[in-house]
């Protein structure tokens, strides 16, 4: 959440700049580089970050999260709360009041009908909407008057800010998308490429997976914005060359998500043509411990299911020892630099939900060894690997293919070797690892390994759905086609009770307390999940681009209307 920039000057420039450049389109062209190319401009049909962020410049939600994670009104005058009466006292409905005088880029008026249509569009059962989770629990949407819309939920929603909040659920124009609902949704390629929006830019030319040209929206609500007349959003390539194009050659003004080893990024940043910006969100790189036995000798029906507990990872002392052997500070130094910080928490932010647990920061190899001794694991045959009752501490450790993750694998393998644990490494191509293909043995859900590493976060600022994933029975298993979010096969009735309690609690302090407790149950009390690094986002912009405020809670391009040329 803390915003750090190389040159504080850029921040200062941001604060005073808008007044200085008070003319729309006076700053010419701005070039943005996304190393993952944009495929579509409709976030309801593709939830890839690149697609959501590109479309966020054209279509907008009613409210956004700012760089601190706080909600800011966007197309409304204020964020509805219980205090201002926008949210009903029983938390079952929320009423949005739209700003007066908003128009779409085609000149027609923006009304509550459009908002209602957007919800219907996504909730159509045949549409395959990718943001359906945003509309979870919605029972009806009513248009009270042309500028007021009321969302009613089936049950009390402690967090009613799912629909129409954040870059994932922007408002579509009813007139444009009317014939694109349900099964027709995917066939409307023109509509999906050239949406009519309220944002600062409109799409002029869309080339899928390649380049998009935008021009300033002349109906945009602030007559002085955007400062740029056109924008080019180029996609494709690799991270290193994207960083070079901004920091070394200044061919482009902005490069998105530069996940590079810190020494590489620093060396490129010495080019001096631009600067990097970083910010933190809720993304945590973690080790997941498999509580079930993934042995290939087991029949397919019981392999890696709750029927077969893990031969040694089901012992908490082994899991704790594995965690103690890790030097998180070093991992950050090698892999993320300024874009990472050590963490012991599954929920690292927002601050009120984050537990103050820091005991894992110090590496303790001797303590880990002692713990393994205590658990009865000793190296009796002198091969450097501990064993007990013929069970060797031999771990298969898998992750997706990614240079930083492979470095982490090597470092962690080395530490585990020092405490007498043998590790075999495996890296799997991301499209297979994160794909839910039940036929593949290599998906992270199937977890045919002892330990796996990846990063996950939660959308927005409310961790409830995230923590609810670890419910008993929610684990991937053959009967559910290996779908399910409880990757570790964790099961604790106490925890389930807390999930239910969290679902009924509206009071923020109480919610935070519950979330902290649940976070600790999963991490420092059971070592089921071993968090490693709280991962931030690093992007880069050229020295001549002003107004950039990196935001990890919403689209990175959330304030593109304020971007301007520094002269």
């Amino acid at each position: 959440m803390k915003l750090r920039t190389l040159l504080l000057g850029a921040v200062a420039a941001t604060a005073f700049a808008p007044a200085a450049f008070a003319e729309r389109g006076s700053d010419g062209d701005v070039k943005v580089l996304y190393w993952q190319a944009v495929s579509i401009m409709n976030p309801y049909l593709s939830s890839g970050t690149k697609d959501i962020e590109a479309s966020s410049m054209v279509i907008e939600p009613l409210g956004r999260f700012n760089e601190t994670g706080a909600m800011v009104p966007w197309l409304v005058d204020e964020i509805p709360t219980v205090t201002n009466g926008g949210v009903s006292a029983d938390l079952t409905s929320i009423t949005w009041k739209i700003k007066d005088g908003l128009t779409w880029s085609d000149g027609s008026a923006f009304t509550a009908e459009d908002v209602k249509f957007t919800a219907d569009y996504c909730m159509d059962p045949d549409g395959g909407c990718q943001q359906l989770a945003k509309f979870d629990g919605v029972s009806s949407i009513e248009v009270l008057d042309p500028l007021t819309v009321k969302v009613t939920f089936e049950r009390a929603m402690p967090n009613p800010y799912g629909p129409f909040m954040g870059a994932e659920s922007p408002i579509l124009q009813k007139a444009q998308f009317e014939n694109c609902t349900g099964a027709n949704a995917p066939t409307c390629s023109t509509e999906n490429f050239y949406p009519v929006g309220t944002g600062p830019f409109v799409v002029e030319d869309f080339r899928p997976n390649d380049v998009i040209t935008f021009k300033a929206n002349d109906k945009f609500r602030d007559p002085a914005k955007p400062a740029f007349a056109t924008m080019t959003l180029k996609g494709g390539g690799d991270v290193t060359s994207a960083a070079r194009a901004v920091l070394e050659t200044a061919e482009f003004d902005y490069a998105w998500n530069l996940q590079l080893a810190p020494d590489v990024l620093n060396s490129i940043a010495e080019g001096g043509k631009g600067q990097t910006v970083s910010a933190f969100g809720t993304l945590v790189e973690r080790l997941e411990m498999n509580l079930t036995n993934p042995s290939a000798e087991l029949p397919a029906e019981t392999r890696a299911t709750v029927a077969e507990p893990h031969p040694f990872l089901s012992d908490i002392r082994v899991r704790k020892a594995l965690s103690m052997a890790i030097d998180r500070e070093l991992l950050v130094e090698v892999g993320y630099g300024r874009a990472g910080r050590p963490t012991c928490n599954l929920v690292p932010a927002p601050a009120m939900f984050a537990s103050d647990n820091t005991e894992c920061f110090t590496q303790d190899l001797e303590g880990a060894k002692a713990l393994l001794e205590e658990a009865g694991y000793v190296d009796s045959d002198g091969d450097g690997v501990r064993e007990k009752d013929g069970v060797k501490l031999a771990i298969l450790y898998q992750t997706s293919t990614n240079a930083v993750r492979q470095d982490f694998q090597l470092l962690i393998k080395d530490w585990w070797r020092q405490i007498g644990v043998e590790t075999e490494l495996r890296n799997i191509e991301g499209a297979v690892f994160f794909g839910g293909d039940p036929g593949s043995p290599d998906t992270f859900q199937k977890f045919y390994a002892d330990v796996e590493m990846y990063a996950n976060n939660f959308a927005g600022t409310d961790p409830q759905p995230y923590l609810a994933m670890y419910r008993c029975g929610n684990e991937p298993k053959p009967s559910s086609q290996w779908l399910g979010a409880n990757i570790n096969r964790y099961c604790d009735p106490e925890y389930d009770k807390l999930i239910d309690e969290l679902g009924q609690t509206g009071e923020l302090e109480k919610r935070a307390e519950l979330a902290k407790k649940m976070n600790e149950m999963l991490t420092k009390e059971s070592y089921t999940i071993v968090p490693l690094v709280d991962r931030g986002r690093v992007s880069a912009h050229s020295n001549s681009l002003g107004g950039v405020i990196l935001n990890t809670w919403d689209s990175e391009l959330w304030n593109v209307a304020d971007w301007h040329r520094v002269k």
Binding site: L33, A37, S39, I40, N42, S46, S47, G48, T49, P125, D126, G128, C129, Q130, Q131, L132, A133, A183, A185, P186, T187, S189, N192, F193, D205, R207, P208, N209, D210, V211, K234, G235, G236, G237, D238, T240, S241, R244, A245, E248, T249, E251, G271, E429, A431, V432, F433, F434, G435, G436, D437, G439, S440, Y454, N457, F458, A459, Y466, L483, A485
Partner: protein, 345 residues
């Protein structure tokens, strides 16, 4: 030869059908999921609904049949409509309007017709990959011929050295190396290819040349190395044959002996290699295209492969297979022309 060509062309149809079926089944078998790139924050039930919306729940054979119909019945209608409406060649014909809004082959990732995207990608692929192939051949043939003619001369040794090193260093290294030297240090050429650039006057042509030069260099190095090695080897074999001595003995000039007699007889392996390479122009150059962000067909294929966009991959590989069959047929016909003794019937 004509009957041979016709018979082979007719045989191409069942072959292509068979190949497309094998590719389809391979894609079905391969692990992977179009939802793999969807963030983990999206719940599994939503992903399952999205898969169903893509038609993934249907049995594979039905999916295949649908693809066949879209590819061979609906897409040609769109093509004919386009030809009679917009192309210069058939524009005078009345508009046909055969296409009535049926479902075309749609990409899962972009939700737009696959063929439209492919057509959009062809210019940059031809400019960069096609040109580099021609440049590569034009450099490789003289190098191969002269190195063989003056075997073990300084030219031959230097040529061997450079081409072999060029071939053994992969483009994922030469590409960034050229960017560091020519874009970062010297600042002569852009490191990012602008696919929206339109050539309409001298200045824009120069710009096009400047942005093409680095990727063309990287690709031409590989082509040159490969073809010149085969050319040299085949020339060496033939230069030692008895007919060369005979030709020289009857007083033919060296130029005629080498460039007519020997060259023609040495072309068979070279023609094979060149014909094998032409379809891969269309296939694009995956690594080089993404290093320089040329975003041609190679980049499209790799993006779709990682996104598991089955209709897209299926259509691209099918076109690719058709080109392979076509050019291998052309190579077979060329064999007969180069060496009339070769008979197929």
């Amino acid at each position: 030869m004509l009957t041979f060509a016709i018979r082979r062309l007719v045989l191409t149809v069942p072959t292509l059908l068979f190949i497309s079926f094998v590719i389809f089944m391979l894609l079905q078998l391969a692990p992977g999921d179009p939802m793999a790139q969807v963030p983990l924050t999206v719940p599994d039930e939503v992903k399952q609904k999205m898969r169903e919306a893509l038609g993934l729940g249907e049995p594979p054979l039905i999916q295949y049949a649908k693809w066949l119909k879209q590819m061979f019945w609906i897409e040609p209608k769109v093509l004919i409509d386009w030809m009679t409406r917009e192309s210069a060649l058939f524009g005078w014909l009345p508009d046909t309007n055969l296409y009535q809004g049926e479902l075309r082959v749609l990409s899962w990732q972009t939700r737009s017709p696959v063929m439209d995207i492919i057509v959009q990608r062809i210019p940059q692929t031809l400019w960069v990959v096609g040109l580099s192939y021609i440049v590569g051949i034009l450099i490789a043939l003289p190098i191969g011929i002269y190195s063989a003619y003056r075997q073990y001369s300084v030219f031959d040794q230097a040529g061997t050295f450079i081409t072999m090193i060029g071939f053994s260093i992969p483009p994922f290294f030469t590409g960034p190396l050229l960017i560091v030297v020519f874009s970062v240090q010297l600042g002569w050429f852009p490191s990012i290819y602008d696919t929206t650039h339109v050539v309409n006057d001298w200045d824009s042509f120069v710009f096009q040349l400047r942005q093409m030069i680095l990727p063309v260099l990287v690709l031409a190095l590989q082509t040159t190395a490969q073809i010149s090695r085969y050319m040299r080897g085949a020339m060496l074999d033939n230069l030692r044959q008895d007919y060369v001595r005979t030709a020289r003995a009857k007083g033919l000039s060296e130029a005629v002996v080498v460039m007519v007699h020997v060259l023609r007889n040495s072309m068979i392996p070279v023609v094979t290699v060149i014909a094998l390479g032409v379809p891969s122009i269309f296939g694009g150059a995956i690594i080089t295209e993404s290093v320089f962000k040329v975003n041609g067909i190679g980049q499209l294929l790799i993006t779709w492969l990682f996104a598991n966009d089955l209709p897209g991959i299926m259509t691209l590989t099918f076109i690719f297979a058709a080109l392979i069959l076509l050019f291998n047929l052309i190579a077979d016909i060329l064999y007969g022309i180069l060496d009339p003794r070769i008979r197929y019937d």
